[in-house]
Symmetry: C2
Subunit: 351 residues, 2 copies
């Protein structure tokens, strides 16, 4: 049995869901993988709860926070005002699980948390896209130097295994193209427009009423979320180093029902597609609405579903679809990556 | 750089394609994964070619066999009459790649090759289903005892990563159901019947003319190939031990165009589906024609394509589709599994 000590930074909905999952699945993970997961620390805005050795009593901690208690007020373990960087630097952990809110201006405090954890040769498991979208090359280099590894499934489609297929299932094959429907909100809006013969504005309103689109939907509908995921996927799987400036982006706000209908007449579906094309070793990235053939497996990805297709030189096309889009789905992706830190040998990297 | 020495048993179309792939991709695999692949031995019916230390000169060997030369006649390395078991037992290899023809009576010589390799604590990478369909529990137990690991991607859908998604992408989640379209020939026949409003007999003839169905199509059309893959997938991923006797099987030979049309009227597609259902820890397996909803991702799997859907408790449904069905696709799956022997740490098993 191998013990791995985890520090969680960020106790929002995804962070909470992750802790509940560890509490519930811990015994099964120990039995199935020989891996004993210990939550050794939890950091949020006002401070932290830290167990310097051994695990936090997780059931008690969850009862405490679910009753509205703050981590720093957790009896016996709370440390008021303890900053994330100090929590990471001052104690022994094997894995940082990062779920603070994505900040695309400067990466937010998460960038400091990630670099501190890399400084201690910890593995990084992140739902937060910020530090990686902004500083992938730098973090990859730091991680390679210290022996840390970066696991970002939860930031690149949550339970949809976008990276797994590219890293593991096509290992040894050359990836010549990637196409993805990576954002559930925009795919929901486009599907609604088609099914209900309605305008973008009306479909957006409906998505907002259902809680699928945000009050300010820009991140999704302008294509930025899709672009951010594409940047992470390309940096992980393809040769080269990519930033958001390398991706021309068009969103879905100007699409009309007429545009969609025109495609259907020709047997095509209009989708917001992220594409990466590799030619002569050069990668080209783009995000925009695209007519795709009815026979393409992504054409049948409807409503809030996501999907990604890898075109390879020796294995043909492989497509993966689905995966729950929710805090629980993201938490399940974090737990998967935590298990992967154990399943994969340290010498094997494709980052 | 880690060196892994491979012995290949079986030099048919898949075995040849695997050697060509290693010759072509060896340098890329070394660069990307730090893994130096050496073909140290090749065994076929009349004997073997063995390099007791270092690699066989692979380009020369391929030139020799492509000109019709037998392994045992390869100058400097050929060993006429050397049996597979003796080739494995008498020399040092890390991995057995098994591509002899599937034999479902007694497993054929492959069963001896696999047990000999397990006896030497080698990892097993197999395209041959026979030994595993017939003796999974026994081989798993022997492997666990000796520290060998079993990699059977190529036997369970070739380039379609049926097992990868179940082993890696849903790690930590509970699998509650598996549904698969696992046989390209039967799916081709059903698609043809629907598209061309034709009978089973006519669609079969067309598939035979195109080389998609065998002259004796029984293994495919009676559902046995689908069943065999289901047995391997269930044994790998689900609790319990399953043999072919545990799977009620119905093939597609009695299906009429009327049956297919009836489904289409109700918005459903008729497919040959392998199912595994897990309820209260009990797994139920079955293979048979099944109407599936148009909204189900497997409904859009047409012609010789394959696909598999995992239903999980925390990640929702995840479906993977595609992957080349050919000797080259199978060879690419073998190379992937060979790379996985290096990517995965020895302590992590879910078998």
């Amino acid at each position: 049995m191998k013990t791995k000590r985890i520090i969680l930074c960020g106790l929002g909905r995804v962070g909470h869901a992750f802790l509940r999952l560890v509490a519930e699945r811990g015994p099964a993970v120990a039995e199935q993988y020989g891996l004993d997961l210990q939550i050794g620390g939890v950091v949020d805005l006002g401070g932290a709860a830290i167990a310097p050795a051994g695990p936090l009593p997780l059931d008690d901690f969850l009862a405490h926070t679910q009753a509205g208690g703050r981590p720093e007020a957790f009896p016996g373990y709370g440390r008021s005002g303890l900053a994330g960087v100090d929590a990471i630097s001052g104690h022994d952990f094997d894995i940082l699980v990062e779920t603070t809110p994505t900040n695309l201006q400067d990466g937010g405090p998460a960038y400091q948390f990630v670099t501190a954890a890399i400084g201690k040769s910890m593995d990084i498991v992140a739902a937060n896209k910020g530090p990686f979208v902004l500083h992938f090359a730098r973090l990859k280099e730091l991680a390679a130097r210290s022996g840390s590894r970066l696991f970002i499934s939860a930031a690149t489609g949550a339970a949809l295994p976008t990276l797994d297929v590219g890293k593991f299932s096509v290992a040894g094959a050359g990836i010549t193209a990637i196409e993805g429907i990576l954002n559930g909100t925009t795919n929901f809006i486009l599907t609604k427009m088609y099914r209900e013969k309605t305008s973008y504005a009306d479909a957006l309103k409906e998505a907002q009423a259902m809680g699928i689109a945000e009050t300010d939907p820009t991140l999704d509908v302008a294509g930025y979320d899709t672009r951010n995921k594409l940047v992470l996927i390309a940096n992980t799987l393809l040769a080269g180093s990519f930033g958001i400036g390398d991706v021309p982006v068009q969103g879905i706000t100007a699409i009309t029902y007429g545009d969609i209908k025109r495609g259907v007449r020709d047997g095509q579906a209009l989708k917001l597609v992220a594409t990466a094309t590799v030619e002569n070793g050069q990668t080209t990235l783009a995000v925009g609405p695209k007519y795709i053939d009815a026979s393409h497996p992504l054409a049948a990805v409807n409503f809030a579903e996501k999907g990604i297709t890898y075109t390879t030189d020796t294995m043909g096309q492989i497509t993966v679809l689905g995966g729950k889009s929710s805090p629980q789905g993201a938490a399940a992706a974090l737990l998967k990556d935590v298990i992967h830190t154990h399943m994969f040998s340290n010498e094997s990297r494709r980052q």
